[in-house]
Amino acid sequence: MKLIKSIIKPFKLEDVKDALSEIGIEGMTVIEAKGFGRQKGHTEIYRGSEYTIDFLPKVVIEVAVPDDIADKVIETIVKAAKTEKIGDGKIFVIPVEQAVRIRTGEQGEVAL
């Protein structure tokens, strides 16, 4: 199993969620984050003074999936999250050795 961790722009969350639902992904976990990257921050000006905002709001989506559909999931996320502007984010694929559904205690891919 893989944990597919995607860092995306917050306003793309709905699109990605919908796209994943469409290909049958039924669960995911979303975490708010702040990103630092090539897309530089911005400045806000209050009373004539500049304040630099380094970190931009991002959203991290974590989906655990069976190995065989990992590529399809990645593709789907890329398609849904892309704006082609800098700062679109990254996807990292991390190995998952075990998965457990707390409610039932089921283990392995059935738990996803």
Binding site: E44, G48, S49
Partner: protein, 453 residues
């Protein structure tokens, strides 16, 4: 930077030659009422007017509302979230402390007849010892007058909070505010409203351009310079953590300011009505001017900007609100928006002083600006001016400048000395680096601003 600042102060001090002149005495608004307060014995015939009393009771509530929670929220929203409670605490504790000091000595020193030189009030009303429930001040109870003026003594030191947020020891806040009230506020209040030497020269300060805003502004700048900058100033500070809180506070200040300025008429009369109208017009104008300047300069009109303009417009009209008409108010508001906007940049960028929430640039500069502008704009017949009786506005301007300079001089010198004294007492008025980093909410008060989950 410090040297630059001293230069500025010195140049302000260069005008002592002004201090020899005088214009025809004239008595307006508050001063009037105070004089009555000062000599109730002579007006045996005075009776209570329930309408005026109703308005003064209301105005008192409005001015307390300006500080609690108005100013507290206005300032609290501008700092980082880790310091928000400390700012609210500063304002709240100062309000309580100032009330007790006003009761104990302040009212007596500031508003009862004092020595012949006109430098300070008397001591007979310490602890309000001779106050009877039936004493009147003009046609309203003296108790109400004491309360109304107390709310001014509350907000003035609270204004200075903006200079030292996010890095000062809480004990230093208490000590500074207490001493400052007695050493700076009370004398200046006596000079202008208590029948002191500035009143005698005919200075015009309807609701506190000199007494409140100039003193607070000059003291704030001095204190900020002595305290030093916040970590990260000026390049890597965090923006205001809650502009909505800032706006809420500013709106409360606006509403409360009706009590401040129209209440300074000491009656529900035509003077109060005009004061309210010009106060409002100045605030509205300054807000829009600030907004458009910011829009032009930065590409975006901001909420923090527009409400800062409001406060600038309110501070600037304050001394003039008994003497100008609507047109004058618009001019004052427009000047306030422009001048205070640039003053913010000047203090922080040019002087390099971390007067963190722009007390000097908004209140100090605004209060002084209004105090000077009233000489011309209040001139009878000019732009709807109502109030000035002096032979010509230039004479009045000289008196007004004297008032400002005297208040600034006392504020700077006294603040300097008070800070030195307190520093010795508290082992330095600034918190440790670690505490500053942690935030004063946790470090000084053991509390958390927001526990939203």
């Amino acid at each position: 930077m410090i040297s630059r600042y001293l230069l500025l102060l010195a140049s302000l001090g260069l005008a002592p030659f002004l201090f020899g002149q005088s214009v025809d005495p004239l008595v307006t608004g508050s001063a009037d009422a105070v004089v009555q307060a000062a000599a109730p014995a002579t007006e045996e015939e005075a009776t209570l007017d329930s309408g005026n009393t109703a308005w003064m009771l209301t105005a008192t509530a409005l001015v307390l509302f300006m500080t609690l929670p108005g100013l507290a929220l206005f300032y609290g929203g501008l700092v980082q979230s880790k310091n928000v409670l400390s700012v609210l605490m500063h304002c709240f504790a100062i309000a309580c402390l100032a009330s007790i000091i006003w009761f104990a000595v302040g009212y007596s020193l500031a508003l009862t007849p004092g020595n012949e030189d006109g430098w300070i009030g008397g001591q007979t009303a310490f602890f309000l010892q001779n106050l009877s429930v039936d004493s009147l001040n003009g046609d309203h109870p003296e108790t109400v007058w004491i309360m109304f003026q107390m709310t001014f003594a509350i907000i003035t030191p609270a204004l200075i909070v903006g200079a030292f947020v996010e890095r000062i020891k809480f004990s230093a806040v208490l000590l500074f505010s207490a001493l400052w009230l007695v050493v700076v506020y009370c004398p200046v209040c006596y000079w202008v409203w208590g029948g002191g030497w500035l009143a005698e020269r005919g200075v015009i300060d309807f609701a506190g351009g000199i007494v409140v805003h100039a003193t607070a502004g000059a003291s704030a700048l001095t204190l900020a310079a002595m305290l030093g900058r916040r970590h990260g100033f000026p390049r890597s500070l965090k923006p205001p953590h809650n502009p909505g809180m800032v706006m809420t506070g500013a709106a409360m200040l606006w509403v409360g300011w009706f009590g401040f300025n129209a209440g300074s008429a000491a009656a529900a009369d035509t003077s109060a009505g005009m004061a309210m109208l010009v106060t409002h017009l100045s605030a509205a104008t300054a807000s829009l001017v600030w907004m458009f300047v910011e829009w032009r300069k930065t590409g975006k009109p901001g909420l923090v900007g527009i409400v800062t303009g409001t406060i600038a417009g309110l501070a600037t009209i304050t001394p003039a609100s008994g003497s100008v008409g609507p047109l004058g108010a618009i001019i004052i508001g427009a000047s306030a928006g422009l001048v205070c906007y640039y003053a913010c940049g000047f203090v922080k960028e040019k002087l390099g002083i971390d007067d963190s929430l722009d007390v000097a640039a908004v209140h100090g500069v605004g209060g002084i600006l209004g105090t000077l502008l009233v000489s011309y704009l209040g001139w009878k017949g000019e732009l709807g001016g109502l109030g000035i009786n002096a032979d010509n506005w230039q004479d009045q301007l000289v008196v007004q400048a004297q008032g400002c300079l005297a208040a600034i001089a006392l504020s700077v010198v006294a603040t300097y000395i008070i800070v030195k004294v307190i520093s010795a007492l508290t082992g330095g008025i600034r918190v440790s680096d670690e505490e500053e980093t942690k935030g004063l909410d946790q470090a000084a008060h053991g509390e958390n601003g927001y526990s939203l989950s």
